[in-house]
Subunit: 461 residues, 2 copies
């Protein structure tokens, strides 16, 4: 087979970048094995996640929990003796849910309570709540086709499920989340007085999943909430039998003035080119009623752990390596934007950025955003990852928080874990520590450390 492989290698577009010296390959294999062994036998990520999720707890931007999370992750990186640990000021939106929402399907005098959660950014209903007839649609087009006459004064109910047949659940989410993000304004443009959305999950259960929405400028502002998938099924069935069915909901959320918060950054100083940066990160904020274990406590502790692993293994980086906890991914992305702005204004050259924001599940690959040559170079490291289940390099993108670095020429990488369970917990009260597997979390951290090591050692060009 040797001849064939050589022939392929000579002709392959990957050749120049993917073949590295046998000696390096051996050394890299050994070092990456050490990274994984250390993560799996003496890892700290699970313990950190326990504290972040159970002691710190929910941490929506602007909340006391978010401030506590900033302190905690800063303290952790100081205790780990990173070379430099600091905060970056970020002004963030400050939305609060207020008293627990109420929701009910109303059939004449019968009221059936259903699990409901205000969407992030929504306004409250009137104090007495909102009750109106319901019009169910699956798409914006269907809504527009109904015409304002049929929608006026009603609550629009978006009920298009995530497509369960998509293997990658993020694709299924992408195919449904317009209902939550833009649905309320689409509804109000047609005269609706309120909007409810089927929760973004493929499961049938009683747990509402929140998430951010944005009011389109010019459209009337109406209250919006998510109901559980079981409630959506029941409401849909009821409407078919009794079209005069009403929906009632009451919520008390409000948007307060922007609040001061922080990105949290810890670094290992580079030895050769300390003014060039490579970062690993996750976002520190979570929704207000969730421990945010998978979204994205996992990404935060994996990022700290990735840098810690290289440090305890005595690796001296060429570039300055940073673990970054971005604030406000959920409802504003202000942390990611502030981080990129700061990098630009300080002329900190960011060579590569890795993000973990798809849950602490078994890692399967990395998405890569870069030039074809950069992608090919990184994909050339596949062989070094195969022993660890990482088999998809280059499929998919980076991540929301690191996106703003893209225009600076930074290569963006996103950890791609198994996605099957992510939307069981996403933006919901059951996204708790007990849903995270220690080994799966550790494998993700080790994968990120290994990728960071290779990026640092070989660069991206």
């Amino acid at each position: 087979m040797k001849k064939i492989l050589l022939a392929v290698a000579l002709l392959s577009p990957l050749t120049k970048t993917s073949v590295f010296a046998q000696a390096d390959y051996q050394a890299d294999s050994v070092f990456i094995r050490k990274i994984f062994n250390t993560a799996l036998s003496e890892g700290k990520s699970y313990e950190m996640l326990k504290t972040l999720t159970q002691d710190v707890g929910p941490r929506l931007s602007g909340s006391a929990g978010a401030a506590k999370a900033v302190e905690y992750t800063r303290d952790v990186m100081k205790q780990l003796q990173f070379d430099n640990v600091f905060l970056q000021n970020v002004m963030v939106p400050h939305w609060v849910r207020g008293a627990k929402e109420q929701g009910a399907i109303v059939i004449g005098k019968q009221k059936i309570s259903v699990p409901i959660a205000a969407l992030g950014g929504s306004v409250a209903t009137a104090k007495e709540g909102l009750k109106a007839r319901v019009i169910e649609v699956k798409t914006f087009q269907e809504l527009r086709d109904l015409g304002t006459e049929k929608v006026k004064g009603k609550i629009v109910f978006f009920n298009r499920p995530m497509d369960p047949t998509r293997l990658n659940t993020f694709e299924a989410y992408g195919g449904a989340v317009d209902q939550r993000g833009a649905g309320p304004s689409e509804a109000s443009k047609m005269g609706a007085v309120g909007c409810i959305v089927r929760s973004m999950t493929t499961r049938l259960d009683d747990i509402p999943h929140t998430g951010s929405m944005r009011y389109a400028s010019g459209a009337p502002i109406i209250p919006a909430a998510a109901i559980s998938t079981n409630a959506a099924e029941l409401l849909s069935k009821t409407l078919k039998e009794k079209p005069e069915t009403e929906f009632y909901f009451k919520q008390n959320c409000e948007t307060l003035p922007d609040a001061p918060s922080h990105n949290v950054i810890g670094e290992l100083k580079g030895v050769k080119t300390p003014a060039e940066y490579m970062v690993v990160g996750g976002h520190l904020d979570s929704w207000d009623f969730a421990q945010g274990a998978h979204d994205d406590g996992s990404g935060c502790v994996q990022s700290i752990e990735a840098v810690r692993l290289l440090k305890v293994l005595g690796y001296k980086p060429n570039n300055t390596l940073r673990a970054v906890m971005y604030i406000n991914e959920e409802n504003g992305l202000k942390g990611g934007i502030a981080y990129a702005d700061s990098a630009k204004s300080k002329n900190e050259k960011h060579v590569a950025a890795i993000e973990s924001d798809r849950g602490g599940f078994t890692p399967l690959g990395f998405g890569i955003v870069g030039t074809p040559a950069q992608k090919a170079k990184i994909m050339g490291w596949q062989k070094l990852f195969s022993a660890y289940g990482i088999h998809e390099l280059g499929v998919g993108g980076g991540g929301a928080d690191i996106g703003p670095l893209g225009p600076q020429g930074t290569v963006l990488l996103g950890l791609i874990p198994d996605s099957q369970r992510y939307f069981d917990y996403h933006h919901a009260s059951n996204d708790s520590f007990d849903k995270v597997s220690k080994r799966e979390l550790e494998l993700g951290a080790a994968s990120m450390a290994a990728m960071l090591y290779l990026l640092d050692k070989y660069g991206v060009n």
Copy 2:
């Protein structure tokens, strides 16, 4: 690239078997997509698993639960209108745990209770329990090196953890389980009066994991139990500080006479060669205190579902396809042996057998046991599986229950799911329905159906 691929194809040892006509490839792709879509959108496996684990519940061989499981799975396959559903008589061991065990670390007058579970097949202690000093070892060699003088009259405590650095947790299990299976007799040969074993899991928690053991002929028979990993850590620490520490345990288990039970079989009759068989299966029995959701309720319902999927999609098999629920994998393998014996005596040619007994987790591949040509042929279907995350064909073996078919020339395949969480639950009370992800379970069932389809359509030679 076409020329290169052709060149490789012409020289590759896989060529003859792996290249199939483009038209077939298209048709197979479409059909396999239908299998996955149906499993993910209208699958029955999760619902069946709920009944098997929550309504039927624990089902150790010889128990009323096992009898109920036989009835339930037979009834399900009848309701699904499989062509033929029948039971196969099997005599199985009948071990019972009796009253709940007690265990304690005893330091002078202080008693610290610890979670404990008798090993399957163990004898009881005396009625008043067993109390003795403890000798901790990691290996049989270490035990033998101590000599009978130091071991006599003591309880041997096997405390070698599963190696957390093995990516494949089954390898870590394989490297530690000798302590449970053969440890009691190794200990008694050296004069020990009892044996306790660290639970087979990489987690540190308070849940004891049982499992089968066997007494070596000629060795004195002593009671044996597993203690939780936290208890093992505590005992080990205590022994270092106070070597005179004793351990106390009391258990009431006993082995009753063998009992009648059954394998449960449902089939779709083959159209071309009905006297040739292809089977998918899992084992119906579980440990007595576990719902057996991952071990192996999942494998049972996936097997039924795999056959159901082909049936509802209107596939007319060439060979007779069977879903087989083997009884008694946990403590005797009598079902697997009886099945193979029956196949042989009835001259039923078994071409291929698939087993799922590694949990209902995201499927990653299939192990294959066959001739090199058979393996190569099956591995040549890789491309048809890649869209579904199945990327490891041919790594690993078949399964315990189908092993006895091997000498009949049957090609053996084992579904290989992600293994990271399996030993968190294995043989323990937390192996319950809520630990199974609907989508992960369904993907496994679909993968088995797709493999069964390809085996049936193309054969193994």
